[in-house]
């Protein structure tokens, strides 16, 4: 089976991610998976909201959070989402090089978001805000940490997909993977918007 066949006789269709039943299954299945992920984060949010006032002797959210830095992290993640939109547009125009450039920008922004988060967690720990400090701290690290782990997984995944594009090119097999990873990236972006609101902004106003 050559790459030639995967491109349907050299003509990649306009939306190569939806050209085959396998591709359509993958996209539908992934949306369903995101439904499950929504419930997962919903439960983490519920636990956090139930426990967020239980700070005991540990630092309070008002004391801990530095909004400018968190705002910068938010902007970085939002822009990375935009970059992955451009990557999918390039995919639809079959501009492989352009697509890879946008994907690389996406993961670079993702990495800088992760760097900021690690720095942030590090600072908190030095201020006496550890996983074991209080119910607030446990639920904080679990919720924000789950999101961070999702970003890290996304970076790794998109990185591997770039390598696969270099190896196999853009075909009706690789296109759905790129498309689905972009949906995933938007999803973790949306989750972050909720974290920014519920954890950080609500933490500042009590």
């Amino acid at each position: 089976m050559s790459a030639h066949d995967h491109q349907l006789d050299g003509h990649l269709p306009h939306e190569p991610e939806k050209a085959t039943l396998e591709g359509r299954n993958k996209i539908l299945g992934f949306w369903l998976f995101l439904g499950a992920e929504t419930v997962l984060f919903g439960t983490l949010f519920a636990a956090f909201i139930a426990l967020r006032h239980q700070t005991l002797d540990g630092p309070t959210p008002d004391h801990l959070f530095e909004l400018p830095m968190v705002f910068a992290a938010t902007m970085i993640l939002l822009v990375s989402s935009l970059a992955s939109v451009f990557a999918v547009q390039a995919l639809h125009q079959h501009k492989v090089k352009q697509m890879i450039v946008w994907l690389i920008i996406t993961i670079l922004l993702g990495l800088s978001f992760l760097g900021l988060e690690i720095y942030e967690f590090n600072t908190y720990v030095s201020e006496g805000h550890k996983l074991t400090t209080s119910a607030f701290s446990s639920s904080f690290y679990t919720l924000v940490g789950f999101h961070g782990a999702h970003v890290a997984f996304g970076v790794l995944w998109i990185g591997l997909l770039i390598a696969q594009i270099f190896k196999k090119g853009l075909t009706v097999v690789t296109a759905p993977k790129i498309y689905v990873s972009a949906i995933y990236w938007h999803f973790i972006d949306v989750v972050w918007v909720f974290i920014f609101t519920v954890v950080y902004l609500m933490g500042k106003v009590g």
């Binding site: 439960t43 996983l131 074991t132």
Partner: protein
Amino acid sequence: MAAHAHTVKRYRGLMDWLTTVDHKKIGILYLIAGGLFFLVGGLEAILIRIQLIKPMNNFVGADTFNQLITMHGTTMIFLAAMPMLFALMNAVIPLQIGARDVAFPFLNSLGFWTFFAGGVLLNISWFAGDIPDAGWTSYVPLAGPTYGGGHGVDYYLMGLQIAGIGTLIGGINFMATIINMRAPGMSFMRMPMFTWTIFITSALIVFAFPVLTVGLVALTFDRLFQANFFETGNGGNAVLWEHIFWVFGHPEVYILILPAFGVISEVISTFSRKRLFGYSSMVFATVLIAFLGFMVWAHHMFTTGLGPVANGLFSIATMLIAVPTGVKIFNWLFTLWGGSISFTSASLFAIGFIPTFVMGGVTGVMLAVAPADFQYHDTYFVVAHFHYVIVGGLIFGIFSGLHYWWPKMFGRMLNEKLGKATFWTFFIGFHLTFFIQHFLGLIGMPRRVWTYLPGQGFDTMNAVSTVGAFLMGIGTIIFVVNVIVSAANKKPVADDPWEDGRSLEWSIPSPPPEYNFKQLPLVRSYDAWWNEKQKRQRRNAAGRAGRTDPYAFAIDPSARHEHRIVRSGAGLHVRPSGRCHRRARRHLWQHVLPLRVRRSRLPHRA
């Protein structure tokens, strides 16, 4: 050119079973694994009942008793009932919707092996000596680090986490399969009822299991990393665990029972030789039950102290579920009404299901009355109630489905005499075990207590209950014997061995070839296969009247109940296709479904 068409290395024998991605083989793997765990859970149940056979008994002791009830509940729900449902789903759903496989064959295999690994991990605890003992609900603080010492509960947390991933994968897979891979013409409202219930169950899995995932993660963090989710001393909240567990746990019981509703609908319709009464109301009731199933979790927590407003609302929401469930019960009764019923093992289990499940439903409404629940809570009344819905509902449904689809799965008939013996011993044993437990509960025997003092009126009823449990064990052994006997029997079965099959799985050989359908079928109505058979009957009748019929199929014209099919057919809903397309479509059918029932392959019925 198919996108994934490349040569795959073919294995034989054991390696083939370990590496298979064929949904029919994965279904059999689920059945074997789920069946084994069912025997383990059943053995645990028998040990529990021996411990309780007389007052002040010291057969297993208090610690082992706690471990037994925890492992019995966890094993039966997550490792026996759900995998056996997945067995039926895998064996039947792609065939019923006219598909060649599921949407994600590899993930299907991955889901099975993660479930199996999780189940094995949980049961390794028996050999490691640290056994979960905080109940299948694993309430904190009993399961927390302070009171749940040792690693018993950790086996529960890790085992369920891993098995849960497998279940979630399966749920996503079957939703995607049913949405995307139905045969041409099979609209949602032409799907067989079993397919509908599996679709809804899969949706419940997708939206309920992640809640359990989070609960298990939080408790794991509490136990292993000294987090404080449920540690009240450090600001945690023990009631939060109850909420998280039941927000998952209540939809879970509908995940279990809805597929049984689907099996019962298929079996009753087939063996009454009638279209399922009220198909659309059945679909609507299923969807409504699933929706309400997410709205009632706090009825498990009436005595927790949420207050009268919460208790009142959850009480009313719970009683509402009785309405769509009642719709289903009456639909089954009206399907039976006036039908030409044959009492096969499968239909006995289905018919036995109806009154049994109604009893479980009635005690459910009793428990939904919050003030009354303060009396019933944590007594044997509750134990009787949920065994009536889970054993009397789900396990009867699974037995019914297994007897019904066995020839399709394995190409061998189960022995009807042994099947009926299974039914009667299991049915009588079940009611003997659990009916009396209602009264044990009402006079005050608490659940989850390892022994009791004599002279409280508990003695005789407990002894009777234990005898019943042994009878259920004998019923299960008869079933296992039946499986072995049928495996030794080399007689092949026909494509449509019950002769009354209604849905597409009966239009292909038993067992089906690896690709299921030579050509994808064109579906023209609900009960697609039944209606095609009927059309052939009419054509044959026309042929006998002297006209030649180019579309005559080789159905034996002297088939036993030909007359009945034609007669009851008058009451069937046949969707007329557009006239101008008729001829072309007929022509298509002839090629699309080369479904000959040869005289020599008709089964020999007992």
